[in-house]
């Protein structure tokens, strides 16, 4: 499940992240802001994640650090989809 979530996040990043680097060259802990992701792109990413996983990020999770890496986003998605 965790791997599936990570793969889906990578697909969404490829479409919405507007990274300066190919997402396939970055590991799960790579800093996406350092890879060129803007604040506007991170909001697009958040909305795409909500649509893909049928979740809603609470205000407390609309933090820069949540969208910093594949690993940090996966952790939050796992939390928000737990028990399904």
């Amino acid at each position: 499940m965790s791997q599936e979530i990570g793969s889906k996040i990578r697909e969404i990043l490829a479409e919405h992240g507007r990274l300066a680097k190919d997402i396939s060259t970055l590991d799960d802990n790579a800093d996406l802001y350092q890879a060129g992701m803007t604040s506007h792109a991170s909001v697009n990413l958040m909305l795409a994640l909500e649509g893909a996983f049928d979740i809603e990020f609470p205000d407390s999770m609309l933090r820069r650090s949540v969208f910093e890496s594949v690993a940090s986003m996966r952790a939050v998605v796992e939390t928000l989809t737990a028990g399904r």
Binding site: S39, H40, V43, N44, L47, P58, D59, L62, R63
Partner: protein, 135 residues
Amino acid sequence: MAEAKMNVVVGIDLVQISQVASSLHRLADAYVNRIFTAAEIAYCSTNPIVAPSRYAARFAAKEAALKALRLDDQGLDLRTIEVKQMPGGWSELELHGAARELADAAGWVGCSLSISHEGDYATAVVAATVQTPTR
């Protein structure tokens, strides 16, 4: 009697209008409803031709305000930072809820906003007057 020290904090942001146009096309209502207030949407959507630049300038204003608030990885709903269009043509910033509380806690006693757009870019600057007590 405690004296107060006045300071100014500034935040600035730059947004690519074509990226906002792309988001409006791809994410539609989910995009506008999650980022902008009803009043902002009403103003921006009156003219479809300039809607992307208006939304982009407002997004830049919200990000500029976040920078001026000097948040330390604190989550905040962007709709709590609202750009008000004034009849004279300029814009002002109005903070609500958590954003208002954060500004109060930071000592904001006033703020000023300036937005602009040209070509494919929109920009915004927020300058806040901050009052901090001194001994």
